[in-house]
Symmetry: C2
Subunit: 343 residues, 2 copies
């Protein structure tokens, strides 16, 4: 039996308010690199872990049993990741397969194979992309923009958290769809990235704008057809004053609200009536059936350089808490990836 | 030339806050009961005028030119009404025709025929119904519930302002669709009406509930599939905590917010994501093409007594301001109609 070290990122206790690095512990356990006798589970070596805003929600103690199940203090975090199969009790997977899906924040994980979402078939692109453009955030942007947003050519699109894992893709998808696209982000560097690398028509730093309503009127004198909602709160409230008739608001996330004990009040919802706007929450988990179609769409664009993807890479599981917490102050520039091992 | 008295309800000035009777003047003018030479307009005798919550919105001074055009101080209000054609310059209408559509709050109106929506063909039902169940509120309830709400048999439906012009119909349509229906209203009498006359499964007086979230959990232990939104504010916020996965919120109105200078903040919008809820504003004006189909559906139900309609009738144009203002304190029980003349 080969027993090896298995470093883990463990939630210390339920979190309220902004998460801190100290809300998580780095724990050094061990794991036997052998499937238990008769197990149908899969033993994974985790390579790349994905830092995603929704993880904050799972850190909150929630009573509602309808709610997706949250993290348990004392256990490692779970999340999306790219892993290599070490041993498999499920005939669908074999040693050496690369997969992406839900795994645990540790070096090696023994998990039910049902948590694996897809086998990785294309390795001519960076493996880490399967935590981003070729993984959950990619399908999120694709389904949210095309399925929920129902874009028409030439429409006016606004994306918040625009340089993030999902936002940077929504903007590029919108440009491929001949839309006019404006993004908001929280620093000058991100704004530069949006305009100079990611092909947004315009971008602004929301932290420097004192009147978001006026800002949006400047960038969208004729109004917004699609607002791809990642942040909630004040931005949403200003957007509601600037939607066009029959506009759509796919709600992907509301990162500005996740750390607030009392979320901000949104006051301009009556505009949904006046402008006959559809606002719709969605979750990527209901769209994974589109993954093959999505890959067919996105892989050629990546290979031809027509879609680019910006990653922010943190090295080493022990830097996981910092990387994860950084999402909520906007420290990351682009998709926040955590490298556990490169192969 | 027959010159006759033409009493009018005139807006005194733009309104902020709750409207008062004194925001309107009763003005006695005169009108010549003869079309001007060569006019293609229509001269109407107004019979029944409709008091509708949206009219409050038109009393506010609004700068946005995209907005629907608001009332002008010094001019009579406009609104839905049932009228009789006195003389017509449009060959589609002739003397004696009964019509419903947009008219002015006065005894006689000279209007472009384009403001007439439909000729009234069925007069075996009360004429006043064409301001309610057979008019704008009827199409609103029908389109909002069936088209925007996409109901399935057996779903759980919650209706606010449930005894109002639209709400009472939504509830009855939902019952015809085998749904479980709960309504909220603002008095014991209205609650009795909902349960004993309008066929709601349950109803409650929201003014007597101290914790709307708990109230909704009591009536909807499994959550709400469709919330037909008429009021906004606190009710919406509590509903958001009680929506079921893939729920729908057709937004018809937000009457609780129209009189507030600063609307209430809605804090639970993130639940739209967790429960993948669609919230959609709509306006009846985009659904009038359904009117013939709607009449075919609703007339037999009225004649067979399977759908009932509760009206609150005010007599005389001079009582118009009181009737209209009463909507915002919930004084009316059922559809508020104003009788100008009976034929």
């Amino acid at each position: 039996m080969t027993e090896v070290r298995n470093k883990q990122v463990v939630l210390r206790d339920y979190v309220s308010g902004f998460p801190k690095e100290s809300d998580m512990n780095i724990v050094e356990g061990t794991i036997t690199l052998k499937l238990p006798e008769g197990s149908d589970e899969v033993l994974l070596k985790n390579l790349y872990l994905s830092c995603d805003p929704y993880m904050r929600i799972l850190m909150t103690k929630v009573e509602d049993p309808d709610f997706f199940s949250n993290y348990k203090p004392g256990s490692p975090l779970t999340g999306y990741g790219v892993s290599k199969v070490v041993e498999s009790g499920d005939p669908d997977y074999k040693k050496g397969d690369l997969v992406w899906g839900i795994t645990k924040w540790e070096e090696f994980s023994l998990i039910p194979s049902s948590l694996i979402l897809f086998k990785i078939e294309h390795t001519d692109v960076p493996l880490s992309y399967y935590t981003g453009i070729l993984g959950m955030p990619g399908v999120t942007a694709y389904a949210g923009f095309f399925e929920v947003g129902s874009p028409k050519k030439g429409e006016n699109v606004f994306v918040s958290a625009a340089s993030g894992a999902v936002g940077q893709l929504v903007g590029q998808f919108a440009k491929l769809n001949d839309c006019y696209v404006v993004g908001s982000a929280g620093s000058k560097d991100k704004v530069d990235l949006l305009k100079n690398k990611l092909g947004f028509d315009e971008a602004f730093n929301y932290k420097e704008e004192t009147d978001l309503n006026a800002t949006l009127k400047r960038y969208f004198p004729e109004g917004i057809d699609i607002y791809f909602e990642n942040v909630g709160g004040k931005t949403l409230d200003a957007v509601l004053l600037n939607m066009r008739v029959h506009g759509r608001i796919p709600i992907c996330g509301m990162i500005s609200q996740y750390n607030l004990t009392q979320p901000e009040g949104v006051t301009n919802l009556a505009n949904l009536i006046f402008k006959r706007v559809r606002m719709e929450g969605f979750m990527v988990t209901e769209y994974y059936h589109l993954y093959p179609k999505f890959l067919e769409f996105v892989l050629p664009h990546i290979r031809e350089g027509k879609i680019v993807y910006v990653e922010d890479i943190a090295e080493g599981l022990e830097n996981g808490p910092t990387a994860l917490v950084g999402l909520f102050s906007g420290r990351n520039v682009g998709k926040q990836v955590l490298v556990v091992a490169r192969d």
